[in-house]
């Protein structure tokens, strides 16, 4: 009986924490009326998660950290409401609360942990809950710790201290990322809610919220999608977007082993495809280098291998490479890649949209050059990784490739948006 009110209270706490760093933007927003509450929540929550991530390196007392963050968030919210008062997208915000609550009910009933969760992630979350840290682990120490850490952080700081209460944050980050991304588009509030529901219907699976960090990476990529949309389609390659991208990439870097590849791919995409802005590209490169260095020095300090996956990358395999090996591996990788690529709902819809754009709106094709580059370079990295893996094949590619494709599938939603907008313009409806 007490769990339902606890879930409502937990969701309210998440919403309050989404105002954590609002005081940083206070001077710039003070003169504005009708601030976008979804935009503010998304930005602040990314900053909040980075604060938790950086703090986690020093293994602080989680309760003190939580109450400090909550206190700052409540103060920020108070001054926000007192000075600004009015904000837009209230309907969207109400649906955000509703969907987070619904997902929280679902997650609370989900104890169907997958293999990886039972073997690795649940043990790590339990260890963090008991105030152990990454230097106490024996197995899979090279796996980044942010996913289990944030799980244990909210597990420990919940009134009921049940394990699932820590996983509710995964649901909040997911729903927030969906609404935050859809909010970039020029639709009316009701259409935004409709599109958000459709995206949740297409991507939500209860099993994704068992504690594995894959759903976090997908959500962070939706945040990145918003910033890339603003950079490439609204020509806003400013320091504000650069910093937000770096903060989101930092979260991805510490969430999954392949995070380092994603950081380098996104950075390369920006450096190669943003026109001019040489100084800002230098700034971006320095920040990317800094976050990778931070991870390296943290791992060095705690005596953890920087090899992203000890069981995958092993130089012994080089002796086995011959022509037969090359053809067998290549066929396994390429065939499974296409199977999983074209069974992802977002990829299916994006591909159909791109095909229609190619036929009817050819002038739009060049708008997505950065996506083609990301897709191709990601495939090359995947190919190289699975080519050298010492894990049994095709077992390794069969049971991990679908998740890797899922991670960055949100980037391609912008293609669907352009198709829909141009299609509706043709029909002379919903002009905005």
């Amino acid at each position: 009986m007490i769990e339902i009110p606890n879930i409502i209270l937990t969701v309210i706490v998440f919403l309050i924490l989404s105002f954590f760093s609002n005081f940083l933007f206070y001077s710039s927003v003070k003169k504005q009326n009708n601030l976008d509450i979804i935009d503010i929540s998304g930005k602040n929550f990314i900053i909040f998660l980075n604060i938790i991530l950086i703090s986690s390196i020093f293994n602080p007392n989680k309760e003190i950290l939580f109450f400090l963050c909550l206190f700052i968030s409540i103060l920020s919210l108070y001054f926000f409401l007192k000075e600004i008062g009015k904000f837009k997208n209230k309907i969207l915000y109400a649906f955000l609360f509703f969907f987070v609550f619904v997902l929280a009910i679902d997650i609370s009933n989900n104890f169907g942990y997958t293999w990886d969760t039972k073997k690795y992630y649940l043990h790590k979350a339990t260890a963090f809950y008991q105030n152990f840290f990454i230097d106490d682990f024996v197995k899979k120490t090279e796996y980044p710790h942010f996913g289990p850490y944030i799980w244990s952080f909210f597990w420990k700081n919940n009134l009921l201290n049940f394990e699932y209460t820590g996983r509710l944050i995964f649901g909040y980050i997911y729903v927030l990322s969906v609404f935050y991304f859809i909010n970039s588009f020029k639709f009316s509030d009701y259409i935004k809610v409709l599109v958000s529901i459709l995206l949740i219907l297409a991507t939500y699976k209860t099993l994704l919220f068992d504690g594995r960090p894959d759903i976090l990476v997908f959500s962070f990529f939706l945040f990145i999608s918003k910033y890339l949309f603003e950079i490439f389609h609204k020509n806003q390659f400013d320091y504000h977007n650069i910093i937000l991208i770096i903060l989101t990439l930092n979260l991805i870097l510490w969430t999954k082993s392949e995070g380092i590849a994603y950081v380098l791919l996104i950075a390369s995409t920006l450096i190669l495809f943003v026109k001019n802005n040489f100084n800002k590209k230098i700034f971006l490169s320095i920040l990317v280098f800094s976050i990778i260095l931070l991870k390296y020095f943290t791992y060095y300090y705690y005596g953890i291998s920087f090899n992203p996956h000890e069981d995958t990358f092993n130089l012994k395999l080089i002796n086995d490479i011959d022509l037969n090996f090359f053809f067998t591996r290549s066929s396994q990788i390429i065939s499974w890649y296409f199977i999983y690529f074209f069974t992802n709902p977002i990829i299916i819809l994006s591909s159909l949209s791109l095909l229609t754009i190619l036929i009817r709106y050819k002038s739009l094709i060049s708008k997505f050059n950065y996506l083609y580059f990301f897709l191709l370079s990601k495939f090359c990295v995947l190919y190289a990784t699975f080519f050298v893996t010492v894990y049994p094949m095709p077992f390794h590619v069969k049971y991990s490739l679908d998740r890797i494709i899922f991670h960055s599938s949100g980037l391609f939603l912008v293609i669907i948006y352009y198709f829909v907008i141009n299609f509706l313009k043709d029909k002379k409806k919903f002009t905005y």
């Binding site: 009986m1 769990e3 339902i4 879930i7 649906f95 509703f98 619904v102 009910i105 679902d106 609370s108 009933n109 104890f111 169907g112 942990y113 293999w115 969760t117 039972k118 073997k119 649940l122 043990h123 339990t126 260890a127 809950y129 008991q130 152990f132 106490d136 682990f137 024996v138 197995k139 049940f162 394990e163 699932y164 009316s188 009701y190 259409i191 809610v193 409709l194 529901i197 459709l198 949740i200 219907l201 939500y204 209860t206």
Partner: protein, 142 residues
Amino acid sequence: MTFKKISFLLIFFLSIIFLNNLQIYKKFFVLLTKNPEKRLIDYHGYCGGESVGFIKFVYKKYNFKLIPKILNFDKMVPDNYWSIFKFNRGIRLNNFNYEYLILLNYNTYNKKNVIKFGKKKINLKDYKIIENKQNCFLLKLL
């Protein structure tokens, strides 16, 4: 019908479809009537597979200071210790308390008294059964 009304109706119906897919009404009722531990045991079983119920029962009753070795004869189980919700380096380093032994999914028709796992051998004749539910046993060293 105005655009706003059509959108609202679509949102309403899609939300209903979503709630129905997730069986939210049933899950809401389960939250009201069962505590998390009961939900966990109902999902994973008392004795069978991971035997979460039996493990939790013996842990509550005996309050082990050191983690006893769990031998699960169902080889499809990835890890036997996750349901304890207690981190212990000993589990990863294979340092266990052999004063107690938990056997899960043990077939009593199996006449073998010596069980090998890795380099370790255990003779079941050195133990006595102190708890038994179906195919789950808690043994104590004599």
